[in-house]
């Protein structure tokens, strides 16, 4: 059994309009890790994420839990990798929260009763059990994002990939999301601009720019390198800057 949940080797992808998005991206995430992909806009984070369950297929190799992603095992891989998109409204397409969360398990051909049980458990896990019968458009943005995560948890994936999970969340929603993600017990990969969030949640970080992985390591070390961050359009998180600044006199 492979120790790596995700292994991407020399991945290239160019969009149909000719825009190169990935130019030899290589990185690996160990099983059980909470990893982050950080980088400026247009670095290729979202494109890379879409390769992890085969929505996009570039040149290079993508291995999920030791298995190289191919057309034949696409369906099996999608059961293992859950993707949470940036905008929850793109992901919540059912008219009722419970139906949306049960959508994945039903597509796994589980009996409807089992799919409903899993959906209710997943809603419980993200603290949204009370919203099972609500319409998605009656929920706050943060609640909708949690329902998206429940929709994937119900499929019992081994890897959860989130694109900009803290975008548009208020401080309370952000804190609740961090606390919830810490309890999930699956391998996590988050693409985010929110470096404080990365520091709080992740134990591994990768800096990405121009379609390549530039550096990787523990987030505290990676995000302490102000020069490196600045060279790639990012800014050191405030908490790290404050720690390094001298004590004020008196």
């Amino acid at each position: 059994m492979s120790d790596e949940a995700i292994a991407v080797e020399d991945l290239y992808y160019t969009y149909p309009d000719g825009t190169p998005a990935l130019r030899g991206a290589t990185f690996a995430v160990p099983r059980g890790a909470r990893a982050a992909l950080v980088g400026p806009n247009g670095a290729g984070k979202s494109t890379l994420i879409l390769h992890l369950n085969g929505i996009l297929r570039g040149q290079g190799r993508v291995k999920i839990l030791g298995e190289t992603l191919t057309t034949e095992n696409l369906r099996a891989v999608r059961r293992k990798v859950g993707l949470v998109f940036q905008n929850p409204d793109d992901q919540l397409f059912a008219l009722r929260v419970l139906d949306d969360v049960a959508y994945g398990p039903l597509n796994q051909d589980l009996p409807p009763e089992e799919a409903e049980r899993r959906a209710r458990e997943a809603l419980e896990a993200v603290g949204m059990a009370h919203a099972a019968d609500k319409a998605p458009h009656h929920l706050s943005f943060g609640e909708r994002r949690r329902v998206c995560i429940a929709g994937l948890l119900a499929m019992q994936p081994e890897i959860l990939v989130l694109d900009e999970p803290t975008a548009n969340l208020d401080p309370r929603g952000r804190r609740e999301l961090i606390n919830m993600l810490k309890t999930l017990g699956v391998t996590l990969l988050v693409a985010s601009h929110d470096l404080e969030f990365v520091l709080d949640l992740c134990d591994l970080g990768f800096l990405m720019d121009e379609g390549r992985i530039i550096a990787g390591g523990p987030p505290r070390e990676l995000l302490s390198n102000a020069q490196l961050l600045s060279a790639h359009g990012l800014e050191q998180p405030l908490s790290l800057r404050l720690r390094r600044s001298p004590e004020p006199p008196g």
Binding site: N107, Q108, H137, L152
Partner: protein
């Protein structure tokens, strides 16, 4: 949050609200069929159906003004349809009935069916309507389309309102017809493009969660004998005005 007023009343607890959604959807189909089948030019029958719509709205404790105001939004469209139908009348029908009757007849029919639909929307959560459509054997594509339209209509409406606010923030629509048309065209194009982008994202999200072209849904509770019997009796009662108009 939604700006669709009838939906605010679905959480009320009235006799219409308590009916099973499958019974309500089936009765709406019967109601619409009766309205369509009523003999042409028999306005009294159509009046009865409109009265039934308003009466059921009162019984459901939904303010009729809410339903009627929403229905009024569609009146210009119905009037347009009625006028077009008048223009394309055949000579035979033109010679036997007054000119105003067919368009009025058509408008009343459309209005009665719309009232029924709005009453359903005000007394039944949309997800129950979607489940009911599937349970009643509606083609999967129709049920899926209903679900998508109902889900994304609200988002589209929010987008339209945001765009409207943005236009107002920049001085509103120009007074002259040409620039006004250009601005509205450009806003509509932006909306259309956003809707297209969203459709692509939704397709990706569905694929990522195992969509293989087959519709699957959670089980529904069995429909009780009482509900079926009540539905059949109500359907027969709904058919009475139509039958009466034909027999008169």
């Amino acid at each position: 949050m939604t700006a669709f007023a009838p939906e605010r009343y679905v959480s009320l607890d009235g006799p219409i609200h308590r009916l099973d959604a499958r019974v309500k959807v089936a009765l709406l189909a019967v109601f619409a069929a009766c309205v369509v089948a009523a003999p042409r030019g028999r306005l009294e029958a159509l009046g009865i159906y409109l009265g039934i719509g308003v009466g059921l709205t009162l019984l459901a404790r939904v303010p009729p003004t809410v339903i009627l105001r929403r229905a009024a939004i569609m009146l210009p469209v119905f009037a347009g349809v009625a006028l077009v139908s008048m223009l394309f009348r055949t000579e035979t029908s033109a010679s036997t009935v007054p000119a105003w009757l067919p368009p009025l007849d058509l408008m009343l029919r459309l209005l009665a069916i719309l009232l029924g639909g709005l009453l359903l929307a005000a007394t039944t959560p949309l997800w129950r309507v979607s489940h009911a459509l599937r349970a009643l054997g509606a083609p999967a594509l129709i049920a899926l389309l209903f679900s998508f339209v109902a889900r994304y209509a609200f988002l589209l409406l929010e987008r339209v309102m945001a765009l409207h606010r943005a236009l107002l923030g920049r001085g509103g629509l120009p007074k002259r017809l040409g620039p006004r048309a250009r601005m509205l065209t450009s806003a509509s194009t932006a909306l259309l493009l956003r809707a297209y982008e969203r459709a692509e994202q939704v397709a990706i999200a569905m694929e990522a969660r195992g969509w293989d072209g087959r519709m699957r849904s959670l089980p529904l509770p069995r429909l009780g004998g009482k509900a079926i019997l009540g539905g059949v009796v109500a359907a027969l009662l709904l058919a009475l005005p139509c039958a009466w108009a034909w027999l008169r």
